[in-house]
C-alpha cells in the first residue's frame, strides 16, 4: 500500500477526485471496518471496539499531525494508514496476540486454537478411517477383482507381494476416503484457523498417525490399519498441511484485504 502511488493514480474520467476532511474520515472509517471485520466471530465485541477506538484515535492524531505540516487531508489519512500498517497485517497480529490469551480451562487454550480446529477435522477424518478399517476387519471379502483379466495377467500388473483389489465395496470406499479425507480436512482447518493452520495440522497429524499405527498393529492380520498409517505419513500430512495453508491464506486474503481508494467524482 503506497499512498503516493495510490494518490497519483488517475481516475477513469480524468476528473479530480473528491478532496477534504469528509473523504479522509471515510478512508479511515473504511480502514477500521476492514481491520475489525476478520475479528468478528473470534474476538469479543468489547475487545474489537476497544481496538477500533484506539486505532481511530491514533490515525486521527497522526492525520492531524500531517495536516498541520501542510498536507492535504486525504493524503494525510493515506499516509497515516500506511504508517499504521495494512489492515491484513494488523488484524493478523491482533488475532495472534488474542490467541495467546484465550480463557483458561478450554481445550483451545491448552493446545492452541488452530490445533483445536485441526484436531476437530483431522480427528473426525481419522475416526471415520478407523471405522472403515473395522468394517474391513469384520466383513472381509477377499475375492479379487480381476478387471476381465486372468489372475496371472493381473499379477503381471500388480506383482507380489502387493495385495490384489478385492470385491468388497468398502475396499474402494476405504482407499477413496484415504485419498480425499486430508483434502477436505485440510481445507476446513485452513478456513477456520486463520493463523498457523499448516503447523497445527502437522502437530495434530503426528499424534493421529501414531494412534492409527497402534490401532493398525492391533488389527493385524487385516493390514488396512497399517496402510492407513502409511498413507497418513506420505499423503495426509503433506496434503493436509498444504491445503490448510492455502485455505487459510485465501480466507485471510478474502476477509482482510483493504485497498484505500478515492471515490470518483459523481
Amino acid at each position: 500500500m503506497d499512498p503516493a502511488r495510490i494518490y497519483h493514480l488517475p481516475t477513469d474520467d480524468g476528473a479530480t477526485p473528491p478532496q477534504g476532511p469528509d473523504e479522509a474520515v471515510r478512508l479511515i472509517e473504511d480502514y477500521l471496518d476492514h481491520l475489525c471485520a476478520p475479528l468478528v466471530g473470534v474476538v469479543p465485541y468489547e475487545d474489537r471496539m476497544c481496538l477500533r477506538m484506539e486505532a481511530d484515535e491514533h490515525l486521527s492524531a497522526k492525520m492531524q499531525l500531517y495536516i498541520n505540516d501542510g498536507i492535504e487531508p486525504v493524503d494525510a489519512a493515506l499516509k497515516a494508514i500506511h504508517q499504521y500498517g495494512t489492515s491484513q497485517e494488523m488484524a493478523e497480529a491482533y488475532l495472534e496476540e488474542w490467541m495467546r490469551h484465550l480463557p483458561k480451562g478450554t481445550l483451545a487454550n491448552k493446545i492452541g486454537l488452530p490445533n483445536a480446529f485441526a484436531l476437530l477435522f483431522f480427528g473426525q477424518a481419522t475416526m471415520i478411517g478407523e471405522i472403515l478399517v473395522q468394517i474391513r476387519l469384520y466383513h472381509p471379502n477377499p475375492d479379487p477383482v480381476l478387471f476381465g483379466l486372468s489372475l496371472p495377467e493381473l499379477r503381471q500388473i500388480i506383482p507380489e507381494p502387493f495385495p490384489l483389489p478385492d470385491r468388497n465395496p468398502t475396499w474402494i470406499l476405504f482407499w477413496a476416503y484415504a485419498f480425499l479425507a486430508p483434502i477436505l480436512a485440510g481445507w476446513f482447518t485452513g478456513r477456520t484457523a486463520l493463523v498457523g493452520a499448516a503447523k497445527a495440522v502437522l502437530q495434530v497429524q503426528i499424534c493421529l498417525t501414531l494412534l492409527t499405527f497402534i490401532l493398525g498393529t492391533a488389527m493385524l492380520p487385516t493390514q488396512e490399519g497399517l496402510w492407513l498409517a502409511l498413507v497418513m505419513v506420505f499423503w495426509w500430512v503433506p496434503i493436509g498441511a498444504l491445503l490448510a495453508h492455502v485455505a487459510s491464506a485465501l480466507q485471510r486474503r478474502r476477509r482482510l484485504r483493504f485497498r484505500p481508494t478515492r471515490r470518483k467524482k459523481s
Partner: protein
C-alpha cells in the same frame, strides 16, 4: 532484513514497558516516545502496538483506562503495574546479557582472552 522485522515481540514489549515505566501514556504517545528516544532509528508498524498493549493488559502487566476529552475522541491511557515492572527488569537483564555476548563476538575477544590480556600480567607481576 528491515529494522521493523528485526524488532521482535519481546523487544517491542520491553520498549513499551520501559516507556510506560516513566509515565502513563496512550498508544499514540508510546509510539512517538519510542521514536523520539531511539532518534527515529527504531520504527515499526504503529498498528502492531495495540495487540501488544492488549496482551500486556490481559497479562496484568499494564492497566488501561479510557480518558474522555471534550470535543475530541477518547483515549485509552496505560499505566504499568507491579508485574510489568518485574517483567521489564527481566527483559532488561536478558537484553544486557544478549547484547554483551554479541559485543564480545563482534569485538573478537572472549571473557577468557580479556582476562589473560588485562588481569593475568598484573597477577603475574604481583607474584614476583
Amino acid at each position: 532484513m528491515s529494522r521493523e522485522k528485526a524488532l521482535n515481540r519481546s523487544h517491542a514489549l520491553a520498549l513499551i514497558l520501559s516507556v510506560l515505566r516513566d509515565a502513563p501514556r496512550h498508544g499514540y504517545e508510546i509510539a512517538r516516545e519510542v521514536e523520539r528516544r531511539s532518534g527515529k532509528r527504531l520504527t515499526f508498524r504503529e498498528g502492531t502496538l495495540y495487540p501488544l498493549l492488549h496482551g500486556l493488559e490481559k497479562d496484568e502487566m499494564i492497566a488501561g483506562e479510557w480518558q474522555e476529552r471534550e470535543g475530541e475522541k477518547p483515549r485509552r491511557i496505560y499505566v504499568i503495574c507491579e508485574a510489568g515492572l518485574a517483567e521489564l527488569d527481566r527483559q532488561i537483564g536478558l537484553w544486557r546479557d544478549f547484547s554483551s555476548a554479541v559485543e564480545s563476538v563482534i569485538e573478537g575477544e572472549s571473557a577468557w582472552n580479556a582476562f589473560r590480556r588485562k588481569l593475568a600480567p598484573k597477577l603475574l607481576l604481583r607474584g614476583r
